[in-house]
């Protein structure tokens, strides 16, 4: 049971590549080290990074949702496979 759960191909981890986006955005400092455009009097440097807190959380949430979908799909197809005992039906 736990063995089968662990067998999840490398490719199914693709959503985690999305984590590259916040890393690139935040570590590429020259891209946001400026004053203009201001937002309600707040320089770009500040509102941009504050905005990325929300975007970063959105990325994590998105990865989590896709991840659970993938586990759900593989789990349910595995269960159907075990129930019918006819692998050919699905594969």
């Amino acid at each position: 049971m736990t063995r089968a759960k662990k067998k999840r191909g490398w490719l199914s981890y693709w959503p985690r590549l999305l984590f590259l986006i916040p890393f690139v955005a935040m570590l590429w400092v020259p891209s946001y080290n400026r004053i203009e455009p201001e937002l309600g009097g707040i320089p770009f440097f500040y509102w941009y990074q504050l905005g990325w807190i929300l975007l970063g959380a959105a990325v994590v949430l998105l990865v989590h949702v896709i991840d659970t979908r993938i586990t759900h799909v593989t789990e349910s197809s595995r269960k159907r496979l075990e129930a019918t005992d006819v692998p050919g039906d699905i594969l």
Binding site: M26, L27, N33, I42, W52, G56, V60, H64
Partner: protein, 508 residues
Amino acid sequence: MTLDLTATIIFVALFLFVTWLGFVAARWRKADLNLLHEWGLGGRRFGTVVTWFLLGGDLYTAYTFIAVPALVFGKGAMGFFAVPYTILIYPILYLVFPRLWAIAHERGHVTAADYVRDRFGSRMLALAFALTGIVATMPYIALQLVGMEVVIGALGFPAGGFVGHIPLIIAFIVLAAFTYTSGLRAPALIAIVKDVLIFVTVFAAVVVIPAKLGGYGAIFASVPAEKLTLTPPSGDSLGSYSAYATLALGSALALFLYPHAMTGILSSSSGNVIRRNAALLAAYSFILGLIALLGYMAIAAGVDRDPAYAAGFAQYGPNFAVPALFLASFPSWFVGVAFAAIAIGALVPAAIMSIACANLFTRNLYKEFIRPDCSQADEARMAKIVSLVVKIGAVVFILAIPQAYAIQLQLLGGIWIIQLLPPILLGLYTRSFNALALLIGWAAGTAIGTYMAAAQGFASSVYPLEIFGVTLPGYAALYSVVINFLLAAALSPPLDLMARRSAASTAS
């Protein structure tokens, strides 16, 4: 400064309330607190909401609330690196820690040292982990006291001398007592109160104070232009850009290696609780971002030029910026609420840190090297006693040693703790690394990182690394952990080969 009576009464009342809560916590989700995983990990039963409060209370400490705006107040844009740092910790939390949780849960690990001991079969590596964890956390606990001392001083209690330390000592006796009886349940429950107070305070601050100062435009306009952005690099140096990026990345990689963060993670009830929290904890990051801006509000309000706060600034330096700003902007009763939020914000992480140190000492030093045959009840009893010793140590530390040393040691702590990253990360996916190679990598990384900080006179953890004539000022922790990792990877195959040969020769 004279004692602000209204603020003090509110402050003391809230403090008494959480004290009561700390003792009541022993009966929350009642279980046998004579078992270490019950006392020290809350029985690994905390769901998404409690874990959110616990980790939030654990990672966003009183010292953060005082020191981050103080850094922005003093150094401007560079201090804002705390924001990208808190953005990057959550992908890391999501990628690494659910898997670590699963392994620790299956194998009954209570500490990170338990985990490497099991993964790589090395007592010495586990010992290195336990010592690093304890040594890096002690100054961190001491700094929580600094945060508390600043607000107690700001209430108008006489600063300095033995009398000045009495409120702090009382607070820590209370903390020690409820941690002893209730274990991790106490900070988990108190964290809820702490967070409500912090949220109220911060929202009031970002609405009320800008309104008084003429809006955000006026606040930023009053900040000197050279503070508002990072100085662009010039010549052969990447200057503040590489420093900013490496500080954010290095701090993010180090955070969850701290024993108290590990304790918070391992106490959750499933990997999914951790994944969900990786998204939800961003709410605290946002609060931290707003708190960082308080540094500029303090500049705009001109609190450092106000003679009423001159004594405070003389005593506590830039750390007094936020308390002074609150005193200048809020009515007395709300100052009491805000200061209580910061002081209680010191209690929660201090409790979790002392529990984490106690877990490390008991599991990986006491049981491993001194009394391997001790019973489970002995183990829990020992941990409770050690949690007391750790807290007394922190108080003595802060009373006996100049504050600057605590800050320098905490800076070194970050460099030391990040050296645990290679074994933890590698252990998730492979057990085939050679333990001796990991140990050598750890020792080299620790030595080089310490050297880099020493070269800056322990005043800064930014080391000007020179590669091909280009200077890359960057976080010493990040540079040294790269060396650690490369060394471990390079030495592992030959050391493995040697071990296999000697095993074969003894067998034949």
